[in-house]
């Protein structure tokens, strides 16, 4: 997807805060959904994601600050109703009324005064697009979770919204259902190019759909960038933990030569590509999948990896179709390998192994020098 670089942002907020009593739950100086982009807001539970979405979708009045549509600040109740009729929201729960699927899908269009023949054509089109046209006459409450979700997505797309808001839309679904729907949905977003804001705590959804990712932690946006930027180069430790940056270790820069830094961690020395100054305290981020394991005595590896540590396996834990092997190399280090590699090497807890990783695989988060 290629978000339009020009044009006024369809929706945005400035100096937005939401407080409950004296407790500030959201503080966002500025955030915009750009024309045609999919902006995914990720963050842990309770970070304020849903509140941010409700404010942007004109369903919750912020304590202070402005919500804008197409560059115009939103004021007044009448304007809010008119603007709401130009957007669509899909929540985690399907929230269908106890009517037929057809009645549910057409409700929004009827409320918006769309002509009857148009209502029929659009409902037919989107029910088919989401693969639920055969359910049109069914009672909504008899649908399965996946079917209901497809109906609620169709109910949003029939409205042909200028901005689409999605609040954890796939969270309640089982894994195969979610995967199938995610793929369909990605295709629909690509076709319609509708400006979208989605909130989720699932990094895989963000990776699959996002043009830009905003990380919301504790009510503030910590980082905003492309998925590659956010997931590979988290700006602080909390973001690193949330985006599952892998090994996160404390360190200090000992020396620095031509962009190659030597960092100490737990008395061991690691080489990393970095231009951060000597003496600076850093957080070392290293993805599990960037660490390679080999058996000792397997001969010198022909690899460009500059870091090589012997260690003992402390834990072997399955992660999806792969296995996470945790080592004690003087500092804790985990690697992600395939089940086949695990078997091939015959790895067991307590066994000696050699880990290698490239200096360029490391992302350093610098801390202010004190």
């Amino acid at each position: 997807m290629n978000p339009g670089s020009g044009g006024t942002a369809p929706a945005g907020v400035t100096k937005l805060t939401v407080a409950y009593g004296t407790r500030k739950v959201l503080d966002v100086p500025a955030l915009e959904v750009l024309p045609g982009e999919v902006l995914v807001v990720i963050g842990p539970n309770g970070s304020g994601k849903t509140i941010l979405l409700l404010c942007l979708a004109l369903l919750l009045k912020p304590t202070t600050g402005t919500v804008s549509y197409l560059g115009q600040p939103v004021t007044g109740q009448r304007q809010i109703l008119r603007l709401r009729r130009r957007l669509a929201v899909v929540f985690q729960e399907s929230l269908l009324l106890s009517n037929s699927v057809w009645d549910n899908v057409t409700l929004g269009m009827r409320l918006r005064g769309i002509p009857k023949n148009e209502v029929k054509a659009r409902a037919q089109k989107w029910l088919e697009r989401f693969g639920v046209a055969h359910l049109a006459k069914r009672q909504a409450r008899t649908l399965s979770g996946g079917e209901a979700k497809r109906v609620s997505l169709a109910r949003a797309f029939v409205l042909e919204p200028e901005v689409l808001f999605l609040d954890e839309p796939f969270a309640a679904l089982d894994s195969p259902t979610r995967q199938a729907l995610l793929e369909d949905f990605e295709g629909v977003l690509r076709e319609t190019k509708v400006s979208t804001l989605m909130v989720t705590h699932d990094r895989n959804e963000a990776l699959a759909l996002a043009d830009r990712v905003a990380v919301l932690i504790g009510g503030t946006i910590r980082q905003l960038g492309t998925p590659a930027e956010v997931f590979n180069f988290p700006v602080d430790e909390e973001v690193a933990v949330f985006v599952e940056a892998g090994n996160i270790l404390p360190g200090k820069i000992l020396s620095q030569t031509a962009g190659l830094a030597i960092i100490s961690t737990d008395g061991r020395e690691i080489e990393a590509v970095s231009s951060l100054p000597v003496g600076m305290k850093v957080t070392i981020c290293l993805r599990h999948e960037d660490v390679t394991l080999s058996l000792p005595g397997a001969g010198p590896l022909t690899t460009s990896a500059r870091n090589r540590f012997a260690g003992r396996v402390t834990r072997i834990f399955p992660v999806g179709s792969q296995v996470r092997v945790t080592l004690d190399c003087g500092f804790p280090l985990a690697a992600l390998i395939t089940g086949r590699s695990l078997e091939g090497m015959g790895l067991k807890e307590g066994q000696e192994v050699v880990s290698t990783f490239k200096a360029s695989s490391i992302h350093l988060i610098g801390h202010h020098m004190t």
Binding site: A57, L59, R84, L87, F91, L107, L111
Partner: protein, 232 residues
């Protein structure tokens, strides 16, 4: 045993031949209680929805008042209405005491907390996000309330049944503010009390059977509507 048998036989005679006095009592009972239920529905649903869907200071206190009202003893309600409508009372000038209108007022006061309470409970149990979803679909505030009420139609019909059931079978308030005057304010429950007191068990049983048939008939109708809307 003989007493019951004789009573039932007499009751059937009365029912089959259609005594005009009994018919009138039955019709008045139905008229008073249905009017009171209708007024309670309008006010109770509006009040229950408003309290159920909004948040304001003193809301919990108000809800506990309504819950208390749901169990208000009819005799106490009768006493209060009586005091208000008494010749020298605050509303004495209306000359409503010992009229069917006074009975409607009393029965309304008994049923309105029940219907409000049921409405409140049913609108509160709707997912808060459903309100957001309807507004996001483009519903105005009034359209949203209407859609939410339609969504809670099953418990609302239960509210009607509970409200009507409470007042058609109520005797204390009707006796006090109606006065059980022949041809004017005598309803089934007050007549049953009187006939039983007189030892006219046959008439009392006949009236009881009619009362049960009325309650059953109205509830049958409402249940039919409720279950139909559930399966449709």
């Amino acid at each position: 045993m003989d007493l019951i048998l004789k009573g039932i036989v007499e009751a059937f005679k009365l029912l089959v031949h259609g005594d005009p006095a009994v018919t009138m009592i039955a019709l008045l009972s139905l008229g008073v209680s249905l009017s009171a239920t209708a007024i309670s529905l309008i006010i109770g649903i509006a009040l229950g929805t408003a309290i159920g869907l909004t948040r304001f200071f003193g809301r919990r206190f108000l809800i506990s008042l309504i819950n208390t009202g749901m169990g208000a003893p009819p005799t106490v309600v009768g006493l209060v209405v009586m005091i208000f409508l008494w010749r020298n009372g605050p509303l004495g000038v209306l000359h409503l005491l010992y009229t069917p209108a006074a009975m409607v007022v009393a029965q309304f006061i008994i049923s309105v907390p029940i219907i409000t309470g049921f409405t409140l409970a049913s609108t509160q149990q709707i997912d808060k996000k459903m309100q957001f979803q309807l507004q996001a679909l483009g519903a105005s505030r009034m359209q949203m309330v209407w859609l939410l009420l339609k969504e809670s139609r099953l418990p609302l019909l239960a509210a009607v049944m509970a409200g009507f059931g409470a007042i058609i079978s109520e005797v204390g308030a009707s006796m006090m503010v109606g006065g059980n005057i022949t041809g004017q304010t005598r309803v089934l429950t007050t007549a049953i009390v009187m006939e039983t007191g007189k030892g006219e068990f046959g008439t009392a049983i006949a009236l009881s059977i009619i009362l049960m048939i009325l309650v059953f008939g109205v509830n049958l109708l409402l249940t039919w509507v409720q279950q139909r809307s559930k399966t449709s």
